[in-house]
Every structure is written in structure tokens, then in C-alpha cells.
Amino acid sequence: MYKRGIPLAHLKKGKTGRITHIRRGYHGGPHGRHHGLHGFQRRLNVLGIREGQIIRVDSKQPLMGPITISVGNSQMTIGRGIAYKIIVEEL
């Protein structure tokens, strides 16, 4: 099914979006090969990176550095690569 939206990495600082879809393979590498990858995805889910959640971009580090986001009452820093895999529709 076609999903509308832009990668979270393209959302401007201070903007909010709703997660519509999360693309698989957070690390770019082959899936689930190394230790704890599964747990890593779980961690994303537990911290609120799930479909339907509302997410705000708080700051972006330069040179494709990580971005800091808020979901609910949690704030977290995620790498830019992960942010490209999270698809949001801007609110």
C-alpha cells in the first residue's frame, strides 16, 4: 500500500508530525544479523517510535548528525539514518 509522507529527517526543527510508517532495517545493514538488533527495534518502539505516534523535532546536529526529538513525555536523540527510515505526515 502506498503511504504518504516524508522522512522524519526532512521535518524542520520545531515541527510536529505523525508517524505513518517505519521502514525496516534501521542500521542499513543486513537485517537481524548482529547481536541485539531485535532488541534495538524494540527499544525504538518502547520509547514511542511507533505508527500513529506524534513526534516533534527539537534540534538537529549539523553535518548529518543526529536529531533530537520528543514523543509524549520522552525526549531522545536518534541518528540521521534512523530518522530517514521513520516516515511522518507533517501536522
Binding site: Y26, H27, G29, R33, H34, H35, G36, L37, H38, G39, F40, R42, R43, L44, N45, V46, L47, G48, R50, D58, S59, Q61, P62, L63, G65, P66, T68, G72, N73, S74, Q75, M76, T77, I78, G79, R80, G81, I82
Partner: protein, 591 residues
């Protein structure tokens, strides 16, 4: 019968504070206190019975994503009761772990912590309803003030599981959590607070980077300030005013002979010299307590403040770019910081990194380029030019001490980056990106900070003193056998030819395998027979950091990396030391 209680919870929920409340001052064992790396064990009393209580590392779920979390999951197997500490300000995501625990049919009591913070944020939780829905006791707590802890203790025996909660899929769990949240939680709209503003400023690159530089500089300044003043006004007063006469008396009573040689050591100009005498009761006690402990105390005090305030994850965010190029991610700064106190906890902290590649790079760089506080405090002593306290007779000081110390640091920082870049390119494996929760700023609780500092100091003393005394003992035997001079002569061509250093420096490096602070102590002891120029001292201090970790760190690294990787890492260390030594010789000595 309850014998073992395990504390489980997400990171940053105040679990360690709950632990410290439950155990009082009575923590019996802790591999390394205060980090989420390893567990702490303690005892508490429930209705007169002594019960063991374990503080497991923080984890988001029972499917671990790193080694630290694996430790947490393993602890569960031994638990008779689990106290699940929950962050009331983040009920939804904390309940995920709770459901996983209940699915496993473990007897659970819930501490709904940070209750006050939730109120401030306009979050209202109906804890009675939550208790009914989950079917296990729920106790609101404010661990920092101790509120609710008594009730928690009395309700431990009510711990039970909930048979109605069956293992389900991820989605199933989130649906269940959603329906629970709807029934128990009400959230008012919240306004931006001053804390949010500070948080923004410290994480935005434009303001965050200068603030980070300021905080790091200030931290080091405070450590030196506290360390120096403690030595001058407290420790040296004790050692020279009380301890020295005591030792002189003992020495007189023992009379000359081998026992005197071992305990008091040789006399320098007819007197005991705490650094040069090399006796077990003189040098063996003075180095760890009189020279190193004051700095260790200062360092851990500042580190605990940085940790408990919640600043470190923000720093990790700011440095992520750099660390990612070195094959790690921003959180790699935490093992490095801990390593500055002592390399052993630094090596343990590499567990929080996700892949083998990251852990290998982090551990190798730690061993190569991060000097521990014990070594640093001795290096500070070397370059102290205060004529009264200057221990070292050097040919000529051309620059103020800060220049020499900066040279050591500068070399090590450059090395950290260069070796990191090379390792990132040459080591196979993945380097996952940073993914790190940023907890809200919290005002550190003085009591907790002091307790943590104290536990770390106690841990340092337990680790350091046996090795130091053993080291001093071995050295005095080797001295008496003439082995030291022999060794110096053998290594003369190597040291002189390659590094432009006197042959006896090989003894310093050998001693460094036991303890780095003792090694610098040996260097000071040598100055009665050999004259060094300040740049040679810079080279020695630098190589001493690079060439090999001390035995305690080595043992931990073998355990963490495995023998094969450790051999690889060792080869990198030794060859780096040789290359850097030669380069420094040309740059600093000009020969």
C-alpha cells in the same frame, strides 16, 4: 520465603535511588556502583528477615539490545520477587516492561516513582485503578525524599503475578497498554518550563557546543582545585604531621635489616621519603592515599554530579558526529569519561555499546589514550613546580606546568582520533547509530551523590591498595636482588636508541603493568639517581598511558573482549606506543 528481590525498570527512572533507600547504608557488593553497567547487591530487612536485594541495570524490555541489558534479564531468573520501578511521567512506555514481567508469571510489586514530577507536569494517575487493572500492588513513591518507600516495603510480601496476562505479540501489548492508560491517566496541557529552555540551549549545536566546552573545562578545573587543596591542607598535614613521626618511631624500633627494608624502605639522606623510600607502609600507603585519593574523590564527586543532573546524554548528542567517525556513536563518550576515573569501570561501560566492533574500538581507545585519575594525579605531581612541594629535580623548567600537562593531553586526544579513524576503517562489523533517551534535567540529590562518590572511593581503595602494596613489595625485592639495575642495563639500548630515554625507564614501564600511579612513583624515585629533562617526562607520561593497560584493566578487557580480540588490541597498543614514542622524540627532544 522471600530470599532475593530484584529491582527492574527502564533507565533514568530513579531505580538506583529506590535501591539506595531500601538498603540504607548497607550495600555489601557492587561491581561498579552508579552506572547502568553492572548490578549492585545489598541487604534489607523485611519483618526481621534479612533479604538480598539486587539493583539490575536499566532496561526497556526483556529483549535485550546490549550486554548491559542482558545482565538485567539474567538477574530475573534468581528473583523471588521483582520490584518494578516505573516512571510516572512516562507511564505508557514503562508499562511495556511491566507487562513482559507479568507475562512471565513473576511476582511483581510496582513502585510508581517520580510521583511528584508527574504532578508538576500535570499528569494524574489513578493508582488504585492501575492496581486493580494490573492485579499487582502499585505504590506511588518519591525516592528522592523517601516518600512511599515504607509502604513499598510493607507491600513486598503482597507481590504476585497476574494469570490473566498471557504472552502476546508486540501489538497486543501496545493495545493492552493503550486501554490501561485510557482508564488510569489524565494529562493536563503543560507549558514550557525553564528546565525545557535550559535543555534546549544545551542540546542545540550553536549554544550547546560552547556550553559543553565550558562545562568540561570547569569540571577539570574543579577536580584539580579540590585535589590540590585537599592534599595541601588535609592529606599532607596528616602524613607529615602525624604519620611520618609514627613511621620514624617504627623504623627506629625495627632497627636496620630486611624487615625495615620491606616495611619502611630505604632512607633518603637519612630520612624517610614517602615517594622514594619504596616501603610497604611508606610509599605503599602514601601513593594511593596521600597522592591519588584526593583527586579520585574530586573526580568522582564531579562525575556523579554530571551523571545525576542528566547532562551526559546531551553531551553524547553533541559529540555524536565525531564519535560516529571513530566507529562508535555519541554514547562512546561515557566509557571514556568513566575511564578517566579508572579504566576498569570504563572497560565495563563499553557494554552499553551495541556491536562487537563498537566495543572493540571503544575498549582499545580507552586502553591507549585515556589516562586514569590515579596516573594523572601522579603526573600532576611530577609537573608541580612549586619549589616547596616539587618532588622532582629537573634540569630546567622552560614553561609553566600547564604546558607540559597540555602536551600530554593533546597527544592523547590526537591519538584517540587518529587511531579511532583507522580502526573504524579497518575493523569489520556494523556501527549502529546513536539512539539515546534524553532524561529531563534533575537537581542532583546531595546525599545520593555523596553516597555514590563514597561507594566508588571504597571500590577504588579495595582495588588499588592491594596492588600497590604488592607492587612496592615486588620492587623492593627486585631492588635488593640487583635485578632493577640489571634490567635497566638490558633495556638501555632500546630505550636510549628508540625513545631517547634512559634505560631505567623500562622499570617504570614494567611497574605500570601493576599500577600506573606506582609507575610514576617509580619515576619519581629514580630521580635521585637520574636526571630527566621535562620533555622526557612528557614522553614517559604519554607512553605510560599508551603502551599497555594495568593488570586490573587488562583482566576486565580479556573478559569483555575475549582473548583473541584482546591480543589484537594489545598488538595495536604496543605498536602505537612505539610509533608515538619515536615521533615525540623527534618533535619534543629534537634528536
Amino acid at each position: 520465603m522471600i530470599k532475593k528481590i530484584v529491582l527492574m525498570g527502564n533507565p533514568n527512572v530513579g531505580k538506583s535511588v529506590v535501591f539506595s533507600r531500601l538498603t540504607g547504608a548497607n550495600v555489601i557488593a557492587s561491581n561498579y556502583p552508579g552506572t547502568t553497567v553492572d548490578f549492585s547487591k545489598g541487604k534489607m530487612r523485611i519483618e526481621g528477615e534479612s533479604v538480598e536485594i539486587i539493583d539490575a541495570p536499566g532496561t526497556y524490555s526483556l529483549q535485550p539490545s546490549n550486554k548491559a541489558e542482558e545482565v538485567a534479564v539474567k538477574m530475573l531468573k534468581e528473583a523471588d520477587v521483582v520490584i518494578n520501578v516505573i516512571d510516572a511521567t512516562n507511564l505508557e512506555r514503562n508499562l511495556y516492561l511491566t507487562l513482559e514481567l507479568l507475562e512471565r508469571d513473576l511476582p511483581v510489586v510496582i513502585a510508581l516513582n517520580l510521583w511528584d514530577e508527574a504532578r508538576h507536569l500535570g499528569i494524574h494517575i489513578n493508582e488504585e485503578k492501575l492496581e486493580k487493572l494490573l492485579g499487582v500492588p502499585v505504590v506511588p513513591t518519591i525516592a528522592l525524599t523517601g516518600e512511599g518507600i515504607k509502604t513499598l516495603v510493607t507491600r513486598i510480601k503482597e507481590a504476585r503475578s497476574n494469570e490473566k496476562i498471557k504472552p502476546t505479540s508486540d501489538e497486543g501489548r501496545w493495545i493492552e497498554i493503550g486501554s490501561i492508560i485510557k482508564k488510569v491517566e489524565q494529562v493536563e496541557h503543560r507549558h514550557h518550563t525553564i528546565k525545557d529552555r535550559i535543555s534546549d540551549l544545551t542540546i542545540k549545536p550553536l549554544t550547546g557546543v560552547p556550553i559543553a566546552a565550558g562545562i568540561i573545562f570547569l569540571s577539570f578545573w574543579i577536580v584539580r582545585f579540590i585535589g590540590e587543596n585537599l592534599i595541601e591542607h588535609v592529606f599532607d598535614r596528616f602524613f607529615y604531621g602525624v604519620y611520618l613521626p609514627l613511621m620514624n618511631g617504627l623504623s627506629g624500633r625495627l632497627g636496620p635489616g630486611i624487615i625495615n627494608d620491606f616495611f619502611i624502605g630505604r632512607l633518603v639522606d637519612g630520612e624517610i621519603d614517602f615517594v622514594q623510600s619504596l616501603g610497604m607502609l611508606t610509599t605503599g600507603v602514601y601513593i594511593p592515599i596521600g597522592m591519588v585519593l584526593p583527586y579520585i574523590f574530586a573526580f568522582y564527586l564531579v562525575l556523579s554530579l554530571l551523571e545525576d543532573s542528566g547532562y551526559l546524554p546531551r553531551l553524547a548528542t553533541l559529540v555524536d558526529n565525531v564519535f560516529h567517525k571513530l566507529g562508535m556513536h555519541g554514547y562512546g563518550i561515557v566509557p571514556m569519561f568513566l575511564g578517566l576515573g579508572c579504566n576498569v569501570p570504563g572497560a565495563l561501560a563499553t557494554r552499553t555499546l551495541e556491536t562487537r566492533k563498537q566495543r572493540f574500538i571503544s575498549a582499545t581507545l580507552l586502553a591507549i589514550a585515556v589516562p586514569c585519575m590515579a596516573q594523572l594525579s601522579m603526573v600532576f605531581a611530577i609537573f608541580s613546580q612549586d619549589p616547596e612541594s616539587s618532588i622532582l629535580a629537573v634540569e630546567s623548567w622552560q614553561y609553566p606546568p600547564v604546558v607540559y600537562i597540555s602536551l600530554v593531553f593533546l597527544t592523547l586526544i590526537i591519538l584517540y582520533i587518529i587511531v579511532g579513524l583507522i580502526l573504524n576503517k579497518s575493523i569489520k562489523g556494523e556501527s549502529p547509530e546513536i539512539f539515546l533517551e534524553i532524561p529531563p534535567y534533575r537537581r542532583p540529590n546531595l546525599k545520593t551523590v555523596l553516597k555514590k562518590t563514597w561507594m566508588r572511593i571504597r571500590w577504588f581503595l579495595k582495588e588499588a591498595i592491594p596492588w600497590l602494596i604488592l607492587g612496592v613489595f615486588l620492587i623492593s625485592i627486585l631492588y635488593n636482588l640487583g635485578f632493577i639495575d640489571w634490567l635497566g642495563a638490558i633495556f638501555e639500548p632500546l630505550m636510549e636508541g628508540v625513545f631517547g630515554l634512559p634505560g631505567v625507564v623500562s622499570i617504570v614501564l614494567l611497574t605500570g603493568f601493576l599500577r600506573k600511579d606506582l609507575a610514576v612513583g617509580m619515576l619519581l624515585a629514580l630521580t635521585s639517581t637520574v636526571t630527566f629533562n621535562p620533555m622526557q617526562l612528557v614522553i614517559i607520561a604519554t607512553i605510560l598511558t599508551i603502551y599497555f593497560p594495568c593488570v586490573a584493566t587488562f583482566a576486565v578487557l580479556v573478559k569483555e573482549l575475549g582473548i583473541k580480540d584482546m591480543l589484537k588490541s594489545t598488538a595495536i597498543m604496543v605498536s602505537t606506543a612505539v610509533i608515538v614514542g619515536i615521533i615525540l622524540r623527534f618533535v619534543l627532544l629534537g634528536v
